[in-house]
Symmetry: C2
Subunit: 664 residues, 2 copies
């Protein structure tokens, strides 16, 4: 128990380092007037979006908070409110730094690759470190006060509520703006990408930050906290306080590893900066493994738990390295899809769809191996197997600080590149920005694998935590209520995907009309004499995205409760199981198919199979447009969907009975 103090200390250290880096980044030189203007508009637009998001969140938190007070008392409700507020705070901080780091990176590019890399990477680090710091601080302090993992569960549920809004809402927002900007600006008016005359250009740039930075940060905050809570609940079930404290101590060790690992990230002469980022991740993993071993020894833990934690992390790295296979331009899937684009867009879609389905295989096998290994090793050493799996998830997510840092680096350099181009910087400097941007994609392949593997193990652990909390000792797949629960749960990810994709097309329709209207009604716009009404576009995208969220959001929150009360707690267990199985399949499929189509288009644009403007290119553009909401809207929301459903089920578990068909 006394070791627990490490958790808030690491949390504070993490936040302190983040604050230091924040000021370091903010005090970098900040670019010319043109940059300032572009950056300012994006900043203003992002904050307008965040304001709407937090208003929606406040409404949800108020309603759910009242329900929680009525049903479970004020403690869970307080934890819930704090969870959503902390997650929002981390997201807000992340956005502020990302919005400032991009133009500073572009400016620093004048001083060379390494300087610019540092600005971008430390910008990303602020996001990573503030996220894990705030999360661990929240979890450990709540546990200090209440000494009850089921109260901490409320914190996790709060973080998850925000994540659902941020992820799905951000996904709808970003694609609405993207389609609006492209369809009218690029296609109809024939003005270049990112042209300031395009009324939707700010909304589009805001979208990158909203989806990639705020959304992704909220998502990992969510998994990070959920994995800890699941392990704490499972630990509490065995009545050993040590096992409850351990996940927090491991996370503390993970934060220290991340801080150390971060300062080792520095590209060597002529090195691809992407390799430097990946080296940082690998170093962090190694340091964490050493600390993991030390923690187990110092706390006198069963060594099986060390191996379980290690197995999870190793599997995460493996999944990371194989995820790349189906989306890399060097591999068959992308190349074949690009090649068949010569026969038209239908075949492009079919090819990407099929390879996308096949792409789930390596990751799912990786998840299966991690689960089996963690369980089996724990059991061999006489520890609870399911606790071992939950520790594997904690182990994977412990180094989130580093993973999020390299991930957040991506949108910062992407934006930096855009700013460098728009503000008319020299060609050599744009090339530096280009190199930095390419590195973001290299790093993304591995961090994406980590995120998927970790989310899968987390929801499996939560699934076990639900069963434990509900008192379901055996969840028999041969009972009809369980079978029906699985069917209903398995439908949720497809339904949620469909609703969010339809939202994009509905919302984009409104956006397209607004952009057309501005071009038509604002005199001098096309000549560059008048400024378009950027904020109206931002507002349309934001309002629409949050409005469209009502149905899928309500479905996500209400359906587990409905299934639980009508069909009983066993059926709800099946429901969670079903949502996990199809959820992971759909999340992988959509993310990879989207990435694959994107890269097939890029491959053709690099000159293959006819190059830009060819028939193959047109077909590939169709594939890419189909893939966009797959990879940026529906796919990434599914993780959050299944986490939030598992958390709600676990929160409500104590008051859910056997249902109306108890006889079965």
């Amino acid at each position: 128990m006394s070791w627990l103090i490490l958790a808030p200390i690491s949390g504070v250290i993490s936040i302190a380092v983040a604050a230091y880096l924040y000021y370091w980044v903010v005090y970098r030189n900040t670019a010319n007037d043109r940059m300032r203007e572009i950056g300012g508009a994006i900043q203003e637009g992002s904050n307008a979006y965040l304001k709407r998001l937090y208003q929606a969140l406040a409404l949800v938190v108020a309603i759910v908070g009242i329900i929680l007070i009525l049903l479970f008392g004020y403690k869970t409700a307080i934890a819930y409110v704090i969870g959503s507020a902390f997650s929002a705070l981390a997201g807000f901080t992340g956005m502020q730094v990302a919005l400032r780091a991009n133009s500073r990176t572009a400016w620093a590019a004048q001083a060379g690759l390494n300087k610019a890399f540092s600005v971008a990477f430390f910008g990303g680090s602020v996001i990573g470190l503030s996220m894990v710091g705030v999360a661990l601080l929240g979890v450990s302090i709540l546990y200090y006060i209440f000494r009850d993992p089921s109260i901490v569960l409320g914190f996790s549920f709060g973080a998850s509520s925000l994540a659902l809004l941020a992820k799905a809402g951000g996904g709808i927002y970003t694609k609405t703006a993207d389609i609006g900007a492209d369809l009218v600006g690029k296609v109809e008016m024939s003005i270049p990408e990112d042209d300031p005359r395009n009324p939707a250009v700010v909304a589009d740039n805001v979208g990158d930050n909203v989806g990639d930075v705020a959304g992704m940060g909220a998502d990992l905050f969510d998994s990070y906290v959920a994995s800890m809570v699941a392990a704490m609940i499972l630990g509490a079930a065995s009545r050993k306080t040590d096992l409850v404290v351990l996940p927090m101590v491991l996370s503390a060790a993970g934060i220290l590893s991340s801080v150390l690992g971060m300062f080792l990230v520095r590209p060597k002469e002529n090195e691809d900066p992407g390799d430097a980022l990946n080296r940082g991740t690998v170093f962090t993993a190694i340091i964490f493994t050493i600390l993991n071993f030390a923690v187990m020894r110092l706390l006198n833990m069963n060594i099986g738990l060390f191996w379980a934690t290690f197995a999870g992390m190793a599997a995460g790295v493996l999944i990371g390295f194989t995820t790349d296979y189906f989306t890399s331009t060097d591999r068959q899937a992308v190349q074949r899809t690009a090649e068949v684009s010569k026969t038209g867009s239908a075949i492009t879609v079919l090819s990407g769809f099929s390879y996308g389905l096949l792409s789930i295989v390596p990751s799912i096998i990786g998840i299966c191996i991690a689960t089996l290994a963690a369980w089996y090793i724990s059991a061999q050493f006489g520890v609870s197997g399911v606790y071992g799996v939950s520790l594997a998830a904690v182990g994977m997510l412990a180094i989130s600080g580093m993973v999020v840092s390299s991930d957040a680096y991506g949108p910062i350099v992407d934006n930096a590149k855009g700013i460098a181009e728009q503000s008319g910087m020299e060609k050599a400097i744009v090339e530096v920005a280009d190199k930095l941007d390419a590195a973001g994609n290299t790093a993304k392949a591995i961090t994406k694998g980590f995120a998927i593997g970790a989310a899968a193990l987390t929801v499996l652990a939560l699934f076990a935590a639900y069963a434990g909390t509900a008192g379901v000792e055996v969840l028999d797949l041969l009972r009809p209520t369980v079978i029906i629960g699985i069917f209903l749960g398995a439908m949720m990810p497809p339904i949620f995907s469909a609703l969010t994709i339809l939202s994009v097309s509905k919302n984009a329709f409104v956006m397209v009309n607004e952009v057309r209207r501005q071009f038509r009604e604002i005199p001098g716009l096309m000549e560059g004499l008048a400024r378009p009404d950027y904020y109206r576009c931002v507002d349309i995208a934001a309002k629409g995205a949050l409005k469209e969220l009502v149905v899928p959001g309500f479905l996500a929150m209400a359906s587990p409760i409905a299934v639980g009360f009508v069909l009983g707690k066993a059926a709800l267990g099946g429901f969670l199981g079903g949502s996990i199985f199809t959820g992971i399949i759909f999340a992988l499929f959509m993310a990879n198919a989207g990435g694959l189509w994107d890269n097939a288009k890029k491959l053709i644009e690099s000159g293959a199979y006819g190059g830009e403007g060819s028939e193959a290119h047109k077909a590939a553009v169709v594939g890419d447009t189909v893939g966009d909401p797959f990879k940026d809207t529906a796919g990434p929301s599914i993780n959050t969907l299944i986490t939030v459903m598992s958390l709600i089920a676990t929160v409500f578990a104590p008051i859910i009975g056997a249902g109306l068909f108890a006889a079965l």
Copy 2:
């Protein structure tokens, strides 16, 4: 037991009626020379395909047969061989009559709608009745001889092996030919659809018969037998011979109902013939309900079993009427998809994809209600709930004779319409053929719902039969091996879909080149002076389809066995469960999305949103091309995939142990 005699008697009656109708159809007048020529070419091509299919089947049967002899003795092996042979025989007969009925229907259209309708419908009836007759005869005679449902299981496995080849192979074949004919003939050479100058035209027409008649017949034969066997195995588990005999007696009653119902199908003056078909199905269902009640009374059965059987059938009808919702041109999904086609093909694809995902909801809820109702009612009356579910499946499939008859009517009138057009018949007659064709689509909506509901209940019953045979009393979703089994099983339908779709695009590529070659190298072809080499195209499509089947076929057969031996019988149970959950989702999604895109295109062609030749139409054509292998290749094969995997697992269950991770 003595009631069992009803089964072979009904089987013989069914075959006798089928034989009578066969000769009735064949002795109708058979058209002009032009028709004869076209019909002859299609016939020749179809038989060439069937020959290849049966060669492949013989190879599979020989290999599997030897394995079965070595592991389980000659009885199961004999049943297996007979099962595949009987199913092949029924399929072959069906094809022969379908190939003859089409030109005769076209010819009869000269004597009016009713005459032509009779020819087409009785043609379809031969398929329906010969199928159920042969199946019930096989099952009941094998049971008479061996008195052991586990031997009859071999028969079912044999039928399923053929169905897998026929369904997936036929699906790949038909789309290969279709794309080859359209892409070169229609698009590149600008000759009309079904033009005899097109070298792939015969292959394309053959494809309709191969996919819709032979494939669909084999599929329902498969489900029909599997549902009976599952109920027999579950009945045997309760050690009551009555419960083993009951499914066969119910099927016998179903055959009699179908024969009676069939002779009630006759369109009234000015009535849509589709309504006549549906009336036939409803009448058959009513007659069967009466006979069902009589059987339960005469055999002194628990009345709960009557209600379980009835619940299944009622749910089937309900599912049938709701399936239509997402694919009907009168409804929002199709209309919205057609409308958004104005913004380009990517949005068409996204819209159809999303509505396709939503379309799974009513059917899955219907399946859940049927399962819960059948189980709950049986349990209320003190009978085994799972046996009740298996009877619900038997009840639904009992009227397969009628359902297949109205379904097989579809491709016959479709072909008749093509023949009427190609052979230059009068406009009024083509219009009659057109009306008949539209009726096929009306009927299809309901029969499709039946087929999906029945297949779902059948695999659920088989799943229980597997658990019973393997001695798995509790299949605990909280055990890691079960979780991993589910993950692996859940991957199978997506993998299978991806492989078959990729096969189509690979095979179509070869076909396109061959068609181009013939246009280039055969002098006088475009002028109509030389005949193209139809059979080479048929052969390419057939050879390619069967070659492409090797990998997915092997995967379907080998993976359950591998999972069983490595991870144990509980994991294999999970594997089957997982494949059922995602299998039903993918089957519904693909079938409905494909139908939806098809109808969106037709809606535009009827003049909406710009009509034929507009930008919206081009986008809708892309949607339709994407949907084609969804609804005709991958979607329909998934039913068979999950059935065949369940059967293999049940056959091998007795020799599968606890696996390598027994400790978990």
